[in-house]
């Protein structure tokens, strides 16, 4: 059964140095506040997993929390480059960053396999791309081919993702930790079910979850920790509670481009917060 705790307690209990951590949220419901708490608690040597390591992972990478990254699209959506991510890959600053790179279709299927408790997923994908030849974090090919036992067709196979911890943000939870999210729900359900532990930050804790069109509910017994963090997705958003702060994303480019400016941002906006 989910424990309802503070964000600081949830991060302290669930995320350890060296863990593989998946913070998911596809543009919507990105758990920024939890990311900042990970930075404040000084976690390091994390393997960060995320389809779109956008501004949230730019911040964690720049802060020196990560040694590895598994991803499928590393940009600032609609606003340009992630300069901390690029600085780590191009120049090894603040530390070298090993990467394992996929397509979105490959990443989602890796989560689906993890949530399904099977060792790999198959998809029609990767054929002819340079991604198929790249090594994974273990040095072995990250994508392999399998032959369909029924038709003989060649398909791509990708290994299941089993993160140590999944971290997501949702609109609401009730007092027993049942979690409800709606709008663009991304791959969060799969990430939580694939992970060994999980943290869900929520806009609010309510007495009763009122049904919402298109909502998914994660029963409390599938969730580790629930922490109330209103606005915890900012500058991303929570449909029904807030709008995407597009100005923040646009302004991030200039902060991220310069190491010193990034350090100042980190000191004032995260470490002092």
């Amino acid at each position: 059964m989910a424990e309802i705790v503070s964000l600081a307690d949830a991060v302290a209990a669930a995320i350890h140095d060296g863990d593989a951590v998946a913070m998911e949220g596809f543009t919507h419901l990105i758990p920024f506040a939890a990311g900042h708490e990970v930075i404040r608690q000084g976690r390091h040597d994390l393997t960060l997993i995320r389809m779109t390591p956008d501004v949230i992972y730019d911040q964690l990478i720049g802060a020196g929390c990560a040694s590895k990254l598994v991803f499928s699209w590393g940009g600032n959506p609609g606003a340009g480059s992630l300069h901390r991510f690029r600085d780590a890959i191009e120049n090894g600053w603040p530390a070298p960053l090993e990467t394992e790179e996929h397509s979105h279709a490959g990443m989602v299927n890796r989560y689906v396999a993890g949530a399904s408790g099977i060792p790999f997923a198959v998809l029609r994908g990767y054929a002819g791309t340079g991604l198929e030849g790249l090594p994974g974090l273990n040095g072995q090919p990250a994508v392999r081919r399998v032959t369909c036992p029924f038709t003989g067709e060649s398909l791509a196979a990708v290994a299941a993702l089993r993160p140590d911890v999944a971290v997501i943000h949702a609109q609401r939870a009730d007092r027993t930790g049942n979690v409800q999210l709606w709008g663009i729900t991304g791959v969060q359900k799969e990430a939580v079910l694939a992970a060994r532990r999980s943290i869900v930050t929520v806009e609010e804790i309510v007495a009763e979850l009122i049904p919402q069109p298109g909502a998914i509910v994660l029963p409390g017994w599938t969730v580790g920790y629930v922490a109330p963090v209103p606005g915890g997705a900012h500058p991303s958003y929570a449909l029904g509670y807030s709008s995407r702060d597009n100005d923040y994303y646009v302004a991030w480019t200039a902060i991220s481009r310069d190491r010193e400016r990034f350090r100042q941002w980190l000191a004032t906006e995260v470490l002092a917060a």
């Binding site: 499928s72 790179e101 998809l123 359900k189 998914i216």
Partner: protein, 255 residues
């Protein structure tokens, strides 16, 4: 030459919008493709079904979203599905008519690179965002339309890294790789339109914007560009298209 009253970017966007037909289903990338797809929906193709990889199917935004997951896309969609579902049930089976992609680098056979610039994957000269949904969009949509500004650095003989397969190294490669869609049918640039030659699959200049010369396009292409016998001069954006495009750019988020 007199000033035409529109920019080459506006010409490119309206040309890209015209490539979409009313009633089509279209998987839209962010940036130029999203602008063009929204222009098409605001003008000649009100029934265009916009699908974004965030899982929003049939989105009808009243302004240009900054990301593929802005709230307006979810709020105006016919349905919102999970990201595993959008890739597995909607894109993978070849249900979607057109994939609309941008390109960091594109080559003679319309292969696209959005991963790394430079010969080395490890320690690249420039790290680009990566594949996102593009690899499978390029593989599985019935056809692909690419929109990209042209320069000798971005239109290269061979891409440094194949993120999304166009025609591989030439005829027969898509079939050999088992790619189910037809591949890029049109590359719309800020100078004109390139289409794959039906025999060689090599991108060939088939259309020019008013006032643009073949030599200008050649100068912005990093390979010996094939040119159709008499490339069409494509019509300038109509006043209504320009007005709709400028209104889209001016529209502020709100309801």
């Amino acid at each position: 030459m007199s000033t035409p009253g529109y920019t080459l970017d506006e010409m490119m966007t309206s040309c890209a919008a015209r490539a979409l037909r009313d009633g089509m289903t279209c998987f839209v990338g962010i940036g130029l493709p999203s602008v063009a797809a929204n222009l098409a929906r605001a003008t000649h193709a009100p029934g265009l079904v916009l699908i974004y990889e965030s899982g929003t199917i049939g989105a009808k935004p009243g302004w240009l979203p900054l990301s593929i997951g802005d709230g307006v896309l979810a709020e105006t969609a016919d349905t919102v599905v999970s990201v595993p579902e959008i890739f597995n049930y909607w894109l993978q089976p070849g249900r979607i008519d057109a994939g609309f992609l941008g390109a960091g680098q594109i080559d003679r056979f319309a292969n696209i690179n959005t991963t790394v610039i430079g010969a080395q994957y490890t320690g690249p000269k420039v790290r680009l965002p990566g594949a996102g949904g593009a690899s499978e969009i390029a593989a599985c949509c019935r056809e692909v339309i690419v929109v990209a500004r042209q320069s000798p650095r971005s239109f290269v003989d061979r891409v440094d890294f194949v993120t999304s397969v166009g025609y591989g190294s030439g005829p027969g490669d898509r079939e050999r790789l088992g790619l189910t869609g037809a591949g890029p049918r049109r590359v719309i640039t800020d100078l004109g339109v390139l289409e794959p030659d039906p025999v060689t699959c090599e991108l060939t200049l088939t259309g020019l914007y008013p006032g643009v010369s073949i030599d200008q396009v050649r100068a912005q292409t990093g390979w010996e560009l094939a040119v159709a016998p008499s490339p069409a001069v494509l019509p300038a954006p109509a006043p209504a298209e320009l007005a709709a495009l400028r209104a889209l750019h001016a529209a502020a988020p709100g309801l």
